[in-house]
């Protein structure tokens, strides 16, 4: 019984972290997605993490994704690392040359993929049409799953319209597949779609925890320097306890995410529930971190000039993406308690 990264894992994560520390500073984050950085990430293997070795990838699983996505969240890197993994999982279910081409391009870092899955979506509202697709604004390939059909849309062929969102780094865009000419959609097994959703939830969970840790570090530093009433605000109990609760939430979410990756990689019967639990804990922890870190920063945290804002925006978007905490909590509830009770039918 062991629950934690191996030495190899640690090493890989350290490499990616070091790369991003150098190449993805807050100033870089403000400049948004960078193809150059994507290529550098590809060199470490990050973009082909779940692409099979046959197609030039590393052929790894959710465990590796967790380590890498956490590094991405910590650096607030705009590049779609989780989407690359999900895209690889979807394309692996497709028996066609065009899948192989894109898998190779993903692993090589010559293509960027965006993905739209029917995840987290029983709720409507917020206007007509479908939810915009993250990273589609600069993707080379958009994968749109519609029921069991996978639309493989090269950006050149699809009708893609950028949309403003709370996090400018997300590259949100509307993707209109009705205008798509070219090749017909591919039929996927339901299992492939389901697992892709779990993988996205696990990756996003790890990313959120990385972001939460980054915000906590920023805020601890600020609270140790900023003085009011003659002493550092971090010496006040109210501030201490806010931030202690953030650390507790992050620390307890972490093993839940590690376990979900293990269950995914080993096809355990609990894999779906474990992925859902991971997203619940990570979304809640990151939301708490965002809220408390902004409160401790005060007005300065409310401005564009403060680096905190980069992570705040990432968390606001990502905590709801891939299914929010309520969606996944309901999934765990259905598994644990059976379907929600209903009034008797007439």
């Amino acid at each position: 019984m062991r629950l934690g990264p191996t030495a190899d894992e640690e090493l890989f994560a350290r490499t990616v972290r070091a790369l991003l520390e150098r190449r993805c500073t807050p100033r870089d984050v403000r400049a948004g997605f960078a193809r150059k950085r994507w290529e550098e990430l590809a060199e470490t293997g990050v973009t082909g993490l779940l692409v099979s070795e046959e197609h030039g990838g590393l052929g790894l699983g959710a465990g590796a994704l967790v380590a890498v996505a956490a590094a991405g969240g910590r650096a607030c890197a705009p590049e779609p690392v989780v989407e690359a993994a999900v895209a690889a999982a979807l394309l692996a279910g497709v028996d066609a040359d065009r899948a192989a081409k894109w898998l190779r391009e993903l692993a090589a870092g010559t293509a960027v993929a965006a993905v739209r899955l029917p995840v987290g979506g029983p709720r409507t509202g917020g206007g007509p049409g479908a939810v915009p697709v993250a990273h589609a604004a600069y993707a080379d390939l958009v994968l749109v799953v519609d029921g069991h059909a996978l639309h493989v849309c090269p950006a050149a062929d699809a009708c893609i319209g950028p949309v403003a969102g709370v996090d400018p780094g997300r590259g949100l865009a509307h993707v209109d597949i009705s205008t798509l000419s070219g090749e017909p959609p591919v039929a996927l097994r339901e299992w492939t779609v389901t697992r892709a959703g779990w993988l996205g939830a696990i990756g996003a969970a790890a990313d959120l925890l990385g972001a939460a840790r980054a915000m906590l570090e920023l805020t601890v530093r600020y609270a140790g320097q900023r003085e009011q009433f003659g002493r550092a605000i971090g010496s006040y109990q109210a501030v201490k306890h806010l931030l202690a609760d953030v650390l507790i939430a992050v620390e307890f979410a972490h093993p839940v995410v590690l376990r979900a990756a293990y269950s995914f990689d080993h096809d355990l019967p609990s894999a779906g529930r474990d992925a859902a639990m991971a997203k619940v804990f990570a979304s809640d922890a990151a939301d708490l971190a965002a809220r408390s870190c902004l409160q401790v920063h005060g007005a300065i945290g409310y401005t564009e000039e403060c680096d905190l804002v980069l992570w705040l925006r990432r968390v606001w978007a990502l905590s709801a993406a891939w299914g929010d905490a309520a969606h996944h909590r309901a999934a765990v509830a259905a598994d644990l308690l059976g379907p929600a009770p209903a009034p008797p039918c007439p």
């Binding site: 029983p122 509202g125 900023r226 945290g301 709801a320």
Partner: protein
């Protein structure tokens, strides 16, 4: 034997008042929302709307008639606010002036100042900007260091220093704020309350972009800026007590009328209706949001009733002191709660923007500005409950950051 506890019925006069404003709003509120008041176009559009309100004498209903108001009672003011926000009317670009600054002008200004300052403020012709916080003085306002030296020859003062978190600072016209006029005095002593023309020589305004990307507030740099004696409010050296009447108002009843939250709560209930249609027809996801929506709505109702209770107490001749801290914590958390619940309902759509997202970002500032909620809780504990202060007198209050990022 006993009279009734309560009478929640409004009088005929009050009901007439409600009908009048409701009718007027139905005819005049712009069908499409105005652009953000923190953009150049939006700022001007909001000024025009204030002018329209003023011309119909709805801009400042609780002010005396002589200054453009209607001399409305507190209850009528609450009715006005309920109807105003329910109608979907635009936010008030003049609010820092009419709610934060005007009370101080009424209490401490000369008649000449009132005549000169208040009507253009109410008409939206002059937009006022607050100049409280400084980089080293946020929650700890008394730590401010911007100073003014006497210019006897010209009959006024020369101001130097830096103010920050000045809402509307980017496009506004005039600023009110505190400056140190006695260099030897410390903390709340030796401060004077000034009014500053932001177009004067020596003033530099640097817009600060907020979370939503718009320059909702600004830093204001002052370099030897001349302010005549006629633009000092109250006595020189008495600025702290003049300002306290203003912040009391800011945190208290006036700025945050229940009307705003009631309107948001009703919109939340409508949003829930739209969303739950999708749920029932969809995958049968259990309705995790039902309690959150009803709780947020009930809290808005409770805030309304609490305000009625406060108005009753004021009518009975009592005054509001540290109780305003109870108020501030409650409304700021209520506002955040309303918008956070809406964001949760919107799920994956939440990040795509719109007025719920704007409202959410704005509501996040509530627990920070006008005295952080941590400081308000200290005030509640020490002044209402009577718990002992922290050992060092100076260090008796909590969390910093920048206060003063008002609306």
């Amino acid at each position: 034997m006993l009279a009734q506890v309560t009478d929640l019925i409004f009088s005929a006069t009050e009901e007439d008042f409600r009908r009048e404003i409701r009718d007027w709003l139905a005819r005049h509120v712009p069908r499409d929302p105005l652009p953000s008041m923190d953009t150049p176009d939006g700022f001007r559009a909001h000024q025009r709307w204030e002018r329209q309100l003023y011309d119909a004498r709805w801009a400042v209903v609780s002010w005396p008639e002589g200054y453009g108001g209607r001399g409305a009672s507190l209850v009528e003011w609450l009715i006005f606010e309920e109807e105003y926000w329910r109608s979907g009317a635009p936010g008030r670009v003049s609010q820092n002036g009419i709610f934060l600054f005007a009370p101080a002008v009424f209490a401490h200004g000369t008649e000449e100042q009132r005549r000169r300052i208040l009507p253009p403020m109410a008409a939206g012709d002059e937009i006022w900007v607050q100049g409280w916080s400084e980089p080293g003085a946020g929650s700890d306002l008394a730590a401010l260091r911007s100073r003014a030296v006497r210019d006897e020859r010209r009959g006024g003062w020369r101001l130097t220093g830096q103010k920050t978190w000045s809402s509307r600072g980017t496009y506004g016209h005039r600023m009110f704020g505190l400056f140190r006029t006695d260099a030897r005095a410390e903390r709340q002593h030796g401060l004077t309350y000034f009014m500053i023309d932001l177009a004067a020589d020596g003033v530099t305004v640097r817009p600060i972009r907020q979370l939503d990307g718009e320059p909702g507030f600004a830093e204001v740099f002052l370099e030897d800026v001349f302010v005549p004696d006629t633009d000092v409010l109250g006595e020189p050296g008495q600025g702290w007590s003049v300002a306290m009447s203003t912040t009391g108002d800011e945190r208290g009843l006036h700025l945050r009328s229940p009307g705003r939250f009631l309107a948001t709560a009703d919109q939340l209930v409508r949003l829930y209706g739209q969303v739950s249609v999708g749920t029932a027809a969809g995958t049968g996801t259990p309705d995790a949001y039902r309690d959150a929506v009803v709780d947020a709505w009930m809290r808005a109702e409770a805030y309304r009733l609490y305000t009625f209770r406060t108005v009753t107490r004021l009518g009975d001749g009592q005054s509001i002191g540290p109780e305003s801290s109870v108020n501030k914590v409650f409304w700021s958390e209520l506002d955040l709660n309303l918008h956070a619940t809406a964001q949760r309902l919107l799920g994956p759509w939440a990040e795509t923007g719109g007025r719920w997202l704007d409202g959410y970002l704005f509501s996040l500032a509530g627990p920070i500005y006008a005295g952080t909620n941590e400081i308000q809780r200290n005030v509640i504990a020490e002044r209402l409950l009577g718990l002992p202060k922290e050992p060092k007198g100076k260090a008796s209050r909590g969390l910093g950051g920048g206060g003063g990022a008002g609306g």
